[in-house]
Amino acid sequence: MPNADDFLELFFTECDELLDSVATGLRAMDDGSYDMETVHAVFRGVHSMKGGAAAFGLTALVAFAHKFETALDLLRSNALDLTPQVMAVFHRCSDCLADLVEAARREDSSDHAQMQELLDELGKLIGSQEEPEDQIVFVPMAMNMSDITPILSQDSYAISLQPDTDLYRTGNDPAALIKALEKLGTTHVTLNADQVPVLADWSRDQPGLKWDIDFRTDAPEHEIESVFEFVEDCCKLSITAVDQSEAQGDCDIIRPSAAAGHGPHETRLTSDPVSAADTGGPETAGPRPAPGTEARAQVSSAKAAETAFNVTIRVGLDRVDRLMNMIGELVIKEAMLTQVIQAAGLTKEPEVAGALDGLRQLAGEIQESVMAIRAQPLKQVFQRMHRIVREAADATGKQVRVVTQGEQTEVDKTMIERLIEPLTHMIRNSVDHGLEDAVTRQRNGKPLEGVITLSAAHKSGRVQIEVSDDGGGINRTRVRQIAEEKGLVTLGASLTPGEIDSLLFLPGFSSKTEVSALSGRGVGLDVVRREITALGGRVMISSSEGNGTTFTITLPLTLAVLEGMLIQLNDQTMILPITAVLETLRPDQATLCRIGRSGRALQNRGELIPILDLACHFGVRQEPARVEDSVLIVVEADNRKRAAFQVDAIFDQRQVVIKSLEENYGRVPGVSAATILGDGKIALIIDPEELIQTSTSDPNRERIALVANG
């Protein structure tokens, strides 16, 4: 039996979802693109949290949610105008609610100064309208979370059912349907025979019978719908929720115009809504909606799709990971099988080739599907960024608006978690350093409100995320000056604008003269870069004077697979991640340069790059091979240090499944992980970053660096 802690954990998970929907709703209200349903949704979210919190005795949360809910209720009943000030309070309330939930999760009962402040503001909003009896004392009681929303008294519905010929033809019986309804609640059925023609005109193809049912039930609406599930295509059906007050004695025909008035509660099951013109005469079969209704129906169905409850199941990540592992195995086994069959010379057989192709395709599809399970929309990350921007804007006193695009872009679950920190940092950086203050903006003829755009998209098998501001752009002279002062670049070195921009990513670079509370925390953009690189991604920066700065992050779709170059070192095959590779080349005698007894460097585009013989470094070969006979791969580390890796050959480039070495052995210097090749052998994945860092701290290499500078 699950214990109380399990329920609490469930409650917190639900809270996360509810907070999410509250924040989304509030943002919709921001845009002005909202209707009453949005307000209802926000209200319901807050209300559900309050209910759950009460069950667990989380008093602070209950008290705050209650006040928040009261204010929202006023909005619902039009007793409160939605001014930008009110909106701002609501946003802060939603943030505070998130904080309270988080505090409750950590069992941190410390007082929230912010909460008290917000409670006062809410109090002002609510003003005298609040009735004393609203202060309900919540008695903790056991309740099922999923039942919170539908705790309602009996609802009234007006159902009208007009069967088409098909309903009779398919052997359905209206009486049976009405009987099924009776099981759910009480019915009051009226037969409406207005449309039945006189006997002389009667035709079997035009049944005119219609039933109006006044229905009371405590069953949720979808259960009512399910009664008609099998006949919805062959009848005209409307189920309309009726307010208790007006339901009394009102079992008249529900006209579409009246039904539309009920807006959110209305559910139409037919694809051809009964339009006013059609109700007059006998029906002809087939959908024939008026153009206007169709458009409306599309809008409402799009809306419904958005707000519809996502049919999801919660599965532990470990289970998905296990599945993922096994799929990896399957792909490897498939490759092995292919090789064995090739070796046996059976590939010419059309049947074998066909079956093998089928297997390969299937394995690939399964792999993609499982990756899709792990994939999550970036929405959850972007959601959080709204708050970060709000807080950053408050701290700097700037007016900032966030625009998000492509929130539905999906990336691997593990990646989502690890993206939050670097993105937070970049957003803060953009608000603090990117956007100008109000005075400067006004002088430059820009709107006072700065815009931060957060967008995501899939581009050529990778995910691209952009953070851009419409600020002043990078002050390159200033950046250069600072970099020179701090000794990060040589004085007077020739740098392209792009190179100057990337100086921002160097460790120890902080351009703002005064350290601000917000982003001047000694953590620079170098951290962002390091974290993104750890995810197998890259960060780029582009800026145009006066028009703003854009940070572009590109990420692999998953952390489980890596695009690698297969390289040959004596008798061993190793993998070099493609992300670090700048170029590959066959060295020319003229471009090589000896330094001392064993040091070697490559002259490449005016730069001297130290050569590292990987075979010797990894101990695969004792005697160094001739550089002239080898292939050189120029790689770059995060700090823009470069090295040329000397390998025997490059023979392929492919996606490899990453396997941990640490699980059964331990860490190997210069190696990040292992993978399994098509022949079932293990190949090590090289960590170019570590190799460059360690090899260039070698005394030999330092001499090369000196030569390069002189």
């Binding site: 195995e329 059964n664 052995y665 090590l684």
Partner: protein, 152 residues
């Protein structure tokens, strides 16, 4: 004869340089033929490399090198004993597996104090039989490369 009564347990017997060694059968997952390994850079000389065991990366330890008999030259007749120890899987390269025998706990004797032989620290006990056969019981924990130490 394999039966597990109190105070008895089964061991897998294998040969290394004409000496009989054994390991508790509970630790052994499977026994496979030798297959070429992928070398690990900067690894101690007794670490043969890694092999693919149905998708897991498994380290193969050359028992002969570890016990001081010198590096073995594995052929297809050599075996790799796959053992599980504290959640880690390891392969042990041996000349051949000869037997599974049941030994009683009280038949295990302490290792005579022969200083300066590298094998000593990896053997936890000796079992002598009436026919003169002697089994040396391997202490897996001592044998394995220390994960903390391979980090440097």
């Amino acid at each position: 004869m394999i039966h597990n009564t109190l105070g008895k347990h089964d061991v897998v017997v294998f040969k290394l340089a004409d000496q009989d060694f054994c390991i508790n059968i509970g630790l052994v997952r499977e026994i496979r033929g030798w297959s070429p390994t992928t070398m690990l850079p900067h690894a101690p000389d007794y670490v043969r490399g890694v092999i693919n065991l149905r998708g897991s990366v498994v380290t193969v330890v050359d028992l002969s090198a570890r016990l001081g008999f010198g590096k073995s030259e594995p052929t297809h007749r050599h075996v790799v004993i796959i053992a599980m120890h504290e959640g880690r899987i390891v392969g042990l390269l041996a000349d051949l597996v000869s037997d599974i025998v049941s030994i009683s706990d009280d038949s295990i004797q302490a290792v005579p104090d022969i200083a300066a032989d590298p094998s000593q620290e990896f053997i936890s006990g000796m079992i002598t039989f009436e026919d003169g056969r002697i089994l040396r019981k391997i202490d897996l924990e001592q044998l394995l490369p220390d994960p903390a130490r391979t980090g440097n």
